[in-house]
Symmetry: C2
Subunit: 311 residues, 2 copies
Amino acid sequence: MSMDRLITKILETGNPTVAGLDPKLSYVPGFIREESVKKYGKTLEAAADALLTFNKALIDELCDIVPAVKPQCAYYEMYGWQGVKALYETMAYAREKGMYVITDGKRNDIGTTMEAYAIGHLGETDVFGETQYGFLGDCLTVNGYLGTDGIAPLLKVCEACDKGIFVLVKTSNPSSGELQDRMIGGQKVYEVMGGMCETWGAEQIGKYGYSSVGAVVGATYPEQLRELREKMPHTFFLVPGYGAQGGGAKDVSYAFDQNGLGAIVNSSRGIMCAYQKEGCDERDFAKAARREAIRMKEDITSVIPKIAWNK
Amino acid sequence: MSMDRLITKILETGNPTVAGLDPKLSYVPGFIREESVKKYGKTLEAAADALLTFNKALIDELCDIVPAVKPQCAYYEMYGWQGVKALYETMAYAREKGMYVITDGKRNDIGTTMEAYAIGHLGETDVFGETQYGFLGDCLTVNGYLGTDGIAPLLKVCEACDKGIFVLVKTSNPSSGELQDRMIGGQKVYEVMGGMCETWGAEQIGKYGYSSVGAVVGATYPEQLRELREKMPHTFFLVPGYGAQGGGAKDVSYAFDQNGLGAIVNSSRGIMCAYQKEGCDERDFAKAARREAIRMKEDITSVIPKIAWNK
């Protein structure tokens, strides 16, 4: 079970957090950007080269203390197929360093089209009878607006290839309530979506009690986090919104169960841009990311039960 | 206004349909696949080369009679960054041939991340002070589950760069009702989403009365199409589900307004795989696609008012 692999990594590192790799060029230190421009000119190739150099240095400093990375597809697609190549290479490097890879793509479609996404991001692509890999995610974020037809093809690939998904349930943004908080009968839309996650995951529950169907629930709505943790006992949470978006350790603590499992908390800019916030030498950016990752780990583990950790 | 550009192309060709380019390798004629394998071996490069060769031949045969193409990102991502490069090259070729490009990515996220998608797919990417283009869509399909925060960054780029979006409202798949048909107060979820489309588009209405915010509404739900056409007078519809999924000309006719505008109907497999259905020589695949595109055009235009066409 893919979620078992993630939880095992969390227990090994004692760290229920994930480093988001959302590299805009303006986050990348100037000396890296200059080297890439020297090599490739002011091109998309140069941009992609700079992102990859930045990501690899971050992965080197984080791989022994952070269990997972979460590259956000948007920031690679912004730089064209060259950026998407850097996404692939980032995943390959993180995997080589033993990290679990959560592809943040929020993909969604139906039938054979969703199957193509599932195969490309989590499965094995048949190319003229040979097995190839489009991308290298262990887990993919997805949007469930289209219903079971959009999720079933993923479940097949998750089972066959030991992978997982995180379905958007309650997102961290201010306007998430426009649809997600509306009432359907006695339930809010996000509760309906949460219930569907429990159903979709019911056949694939791992040894820690969590299924391969996780949910995205934002740190910026702690009350909802608490409710959903109770109502979704088999659904592992990916929690965005810590740090830059305003969620604190106390807020995210509601995402965890009484053993201190059940969730992984993301920080992207907080870790990637720690060197800018610290105001240290930009050449020290990776060490600054490491310092912030350790601070975040201590911040969050200080407020959750650590029963599972001590086993 | 981007939707004006699309409607103008529809009127020029007298054809309110779009050719979906969703090329699985198994759709590509054997002689093309063999040539690609000869060049690149059984690799993702070979797969991407085969897709591109297939797409270019289809575009050559369709560009004077079909106004638009709709490449589906999933089928390119399945073949890794090499496939995504073929996606870019397909878009560039379609644009060169004067076709309008609808990128079917169903992208969704919030804030700066959605901005990155908007820039990458519809806008201009700033690379070390130079303007570059990640991808070359005129329009992008998106998922509105996250609310206004996920749409606002797109609206800015649509206005600045003369582009458009299609928001998923009522999808064509059997299980679309699991969430989309549930009642919120007196309205169904898809009606709420439809209402949001009208609001999001209100500031960007073009000369034909349609805004740069369109909606995806499936041909497989003709009753809902009829309702939504009435309730969403400024929202242009992208209609999947014709042909392979079971929607007929009569079904899709409800998507059009009394002038015969207001919608574009997609066919993917029907056009791409016409040579398989016809059972003709596979080397005739592009001509077979053209024959099917003409048949589809006649099928649909025979049941809608053509008032706008005759002006």
